[in-house]
């Protein structure tokens, strides 16, 4: 009896202790809602697509790299679960003309070796990005911010020391741009503009990213890295907000095979997948509805016409082909995860972007097909002289399905003979770049949540303008928009740019992406509304 009593007392004390622990926890862990029962083991496993090419933010360009680096390094600003820009290392910032920006850095930010994070670190890092010696694949990103001399330094005509950035004092950073960029602060959330630890790079060179050498300023640091198997992160005890980090370990698994990743999720080994296999979507949505997460995504899927090549230099041909694509069939029946038909290059989810639906977007598919037929026969194509061309896409089940569907739509409604050609990724990139195609599949994801991240692609001088669209009218609108400091005016100009695109149809927009993945319901704090898919592991926790 005595022993039983003791046990009961122990149990009561224990539960009180636990409650105390969890309440005291939730009082300072702002992100964990009060009353949430946290699991004992706070270890998270995330599927991460391809193996990362590097953990050096200045040498990477891919999404998998960004997912890991976001946890390892903290830039001037972060994003909240809704995609809003919130303070990171910078607690506040000001500008009067959108050309000169002053950032005030927090004094408690530290590197994982205890060194303070200062304005000098950002100066060093930004110069490293544009330094041609670094050969950063995303150096152009700083050029896009219009930072003083960024372009010249990248091109090798100016010294990197002349970059428009300086440390006023250890905690005040000043950036100068050549022209006003009202969304500059938003752009500072990108992987390319994360700071790196100068002393470590000088000491270890290319080897600084190895777990034994790594020094970062993010909420986590690298504990273990086995190429093609896993990257393990543990909390950075020096992180200024470490008290709010709930997870004790985050593991990223590089799994490119979507089915393999799904299997490992279903067997309970992964908490958050990188994506999910389209062909299993319906079954997953039925059997694992609680795990399927499908927020909108800042990406567009489209077909680019070779505007420099006959017959695609004829707007009537381009329009006819675009009109004849039944976008609803593709989004509803082929994809069916909530993707939206696209009539614009810019996805409608982009902040502040309110385009006007072009005329063809308002027609029924039957009417569109009728117009398409008229346009095509006006352009000189008919039964005796049918339009024939090749559609290029990069090898993927999804692209193949869509290409086959569109091929049959074109055949059925316009009598057009289309040959499908798939090429493996790198070959496809080369072919596209060399302009050696008729019509090509393409996609684009925004680097920042602003329409210019998409619309600049179609400017005649843009290096990614593979459709070779060249319109003075469009360029003029875009140049005006990029100079405008008024959000409303700028977005109106972006809408105007889309009108020009609908008129010239250099590309045929097809659908707006969603980001479908599996998330175990025991994961708390997952951002379901962040269009740029910026997930910070520091905001996540595991419920009981």
């Amino acid at each position: 009896m005595e022993r039983l009593k003791n046990k009961i007392t122990q149990a009561v004390l224990l539960s009180v202790g636990l409650t105390l622990a969890s309440t005291s926890f939730s009082t300072f862990a702002a992100d964990v809602p009060a009353g949430t029962q946290l699991a004992k083991v706070q270890e998270l496993v995330r599927g991460n697509g391809a193996e990362v090419a590097s953990l050096d933010p200045h040498k990477t360009e891919g999404v998998p790299e960004s997912h890991v680096i976001r946890d390892l390094l903290e830039g001037l600003v972060n994003q909240d679960s809704e995609g809003n820009t919130i303070p990171g290392v910078a607690t506040s910032w000001e500008t009067t003309d959108n050309k000169l920006f002053t950032f005030h850095l927090r004094k408690d930010a530290k590197w994982s070796n205890g060194d303070p994070v200062t304005a000098e670190d950002f100066v060093y890092s930004f110069k490293r990005v544009v330094d041609p010696v670094t050969a950063s694949p995303y150096a152009w990103y700083l050029e896009m911010t219009n930072m003083v001399n960024a372009k010249e330094i990248i091109e090798g005509t100016a010294d990197k020391e002349t970059l428009g950035i300086k440390a006023i004092d250890p905690y005040t950073l000043q950036v100068t741009l050549t022209t006003a960029v009202p969304y500059f602060v938003k752009m500072m959330g990108h992987t390319t503009v994360k700071p790196v630890h100068k002393a470590s790079i000088e000491k270890f060179g290319d080897k600084w990213t190895k777990p034994e050498n790594f020094v970062g300023n993010g909420a986590f640091t690298v504990a273990n890295w086995v190429v093609n198997e896993r990257i393990e992160l543990v909390p950075n005890n020096y992180y200024w907000d470490n008290a709010h980090t709930v997870l004790t370990k985050v593991t990223f698994l590089p799994i490119e095979n979507q089915v393999a990743e799904m299997n490992r999720f279903l067997s309970g080994e992964i908490d958050i997948t990188y994506e999910l296999p389209n062909e299993h979507y319906k079954r997953l949505a039925k059997d694992h509805a609680e795990s399927v997460s499908i927020p909108g995504n800042l990406c567009s899927y489209y077909y680019g016409f070779n505007n420099a090549k006959a017959p695609f230099n004829d707007v009537r041909v381009r329009k006819a082909l675009s009109y004849a694509i039944d976008r609803n069939v593709i989004t509803k029946f082929l994809l069916g995860q909530g993707q939206k038909p696209a009539y614009f290059l810019t996805p409608e989810i982009v902040a502040g972007f309110h385009p006007q639906m072009p005329a063809y977007g308002k027609l029924t598919q039957k009417q569109r097909v009728q117009e398409a037929k008229d346009l095509l026969s006006e352009a000189g194509f008919n039964k005796q002289n049918p339009l024939k061309f090749t559609l290029l896409y990069n090898t993927s089940e999804n692209h193949k399905k869509i290409a086959a569907a569109i091929q049959s739509m074109w055949k059925k409604s316009l009598g057009v003979d289309v040959q499908l050609e798939n090429q493996e990724w790198k070959t496809y990139l080369d072919t596209r770049r060399q302009g050696d195609f008729d019509v090509t599949r393409a996609g684009w994801c925004g680097d920042y949540n602003e329409a210019s991240s998409f619309l600049s692609l179609m400017q005649s001088n843009n290096s990614s303008n593979d459709p070779k669209y060249n319109s003075a009218e469009y360029d003029q609108i875009m140049n005006k928009a990029l100079l405008s400091t008024n959000d409303q005016e700028r977005n109106a100009l972006y809408a105007e740019a889309e009108v020009v695109l609908a008129k010239d149809m250099p590309i045929a927009p097809i659908y707006q992406y969603v980001k479908a993945r599996l998330v175990n319901p025991h994961v708390g704090g997952f951002p379901t509304n962040n269009a740029e898919d910026k997930i910070f592991s520091k905001d996540l926790y595991i419920k009981q």
Binding site: P137, G156, N228, E256, R264, L429
Partner: protein
């Protein structure tokens, strides 16, 4: 014997050289390059990258530089995995593939020869039929079908083994990949062993041994097994090759950080130096293994001389 081995090693040098040369030039002439990205790099950046990896020199000069470095054991930096050299990547991947491959190979031999012998001894009984029809399924089932089926049954449905990964390479992470990799060869070895064993058991010298009144078990183990193993040993070479190349599929499905996965990714990424490094490694292993098989054959078959 030593003369034979020395000769084989000397023969290997020109073979490897041809292999290096062909792969080197094929790789360079493949469309796409390691640094083609969706957003093209500015020419200035591209120049720096080319200079860093020696791509600014003529292809022939690149080739001679590469050969010189390889002779010194330096396989260069990986083009894709910028934080690692090829030597580092191979050093971390090889033990994984070697462990899984060796386990699969040993398992294949023991199981294949074992059940093949049993089937031969119990020829035309239900045991024989069961073993041989199961083996038939094993032969026709490709690993990219078998492996997901194994995962579905043992990982998702029963939950006995993890659906992939390596972690520490312990038994539970090895089990399914080893089965997935070896089943085809177990089946093939079983069929070869059975056929060869039946033929041997029907031959004159076995009849003589039986006439002498020796026990059946003694005859099988002492007299029949050795000659019956000849086709089995000959098939070890192709089986080893198959297991290595098959590791590409198995390692991708199970997410093992081995050579096969490294190889596939390297080819897709046009990681020139990594493709070359792994090609040379696999070529080297093939030559070594074929030599071992030749020595084994000579040891078993008195008709073969070095």
């Amino acid at each position: 014997m030593f003369k034979f081995i020395a000769k084989r090693i000397l023969e290997a040098i020109p073979t490897l050289l041809v292999l290096i040369t062909i792969s080197f030039f094929l790789m360079r002439f493949a469309p796409g390059n390691p640094f083609s990205t969706e957003r093209p790099l500015p020419p200035e950046v591209m120049e720096n990258i080319n200079a860093k990896y020696g791509l600014d020199k003529s292809v022939f000069e690149q080739y001679t530089t590469y050969l010189t470095n390889v002779l010194q054991g330096d396989f260069g930096p990986s083009f894709k995995y910028k934080d690692f050299t090829v030597n580092e990547l191979v050093a971390s991947a090889l033990p994984v593939s070697a462990k899984v491959g060796a386990a699969a190979f040993v398992f294949t031999l023991i199981m294949g020869v074992g059940v093949g012998t049993i089937a031969a001894l119990k020829q035309n009984t239900w045991i024989d039929y069961t073993i041989m029809s199961t083996a038939m399924i094993g032969v026709v089932m490709p690993s990219f079908v078998l492996a997901p089926a194994l995962i579905y049954v043992f990982s998702i449905y029963l939950g006995w083994f993890p659906a992939g990964g390596w972690l520490d390479g312990s038994f539970q992470y090895m089990f399914l990949p080893v089965i997935g990799m070896s089943l085809l060869y177990v089946a093939t070895f079983a069929r070869i062993t059975r056929g060869s064993m039946i033929e041997t058991l029907n031959s004159n010298f076995i009849r003589t041994a039986r006439a002498k009144g020796l026990s059946y078990t003694y005859i099988v183990l002492k007299h029949a097994l050795k000659p019956a193993m000849l086709p089995v040993v000959s098939y070890m070479g192709p089986a080893f090759v198959g297991i290595i190349t098959g590791s590409v599929v198995i390692e991708t499905i199970f997410g093992l950080p081995g050579i096969g996965k490294l190889f596939v990714n390297a080819a897709f990424n046009r990681d020139y130096s990594l493709v070359m490094g792994v090609t040379i490694l696999i070529g080297f292993l093939f030559i070594i293994f074929n030599t071992v098989v030749d020595i084994l054959l000579a040891a078993i078959d008195p008709k073969i001389r070095y």
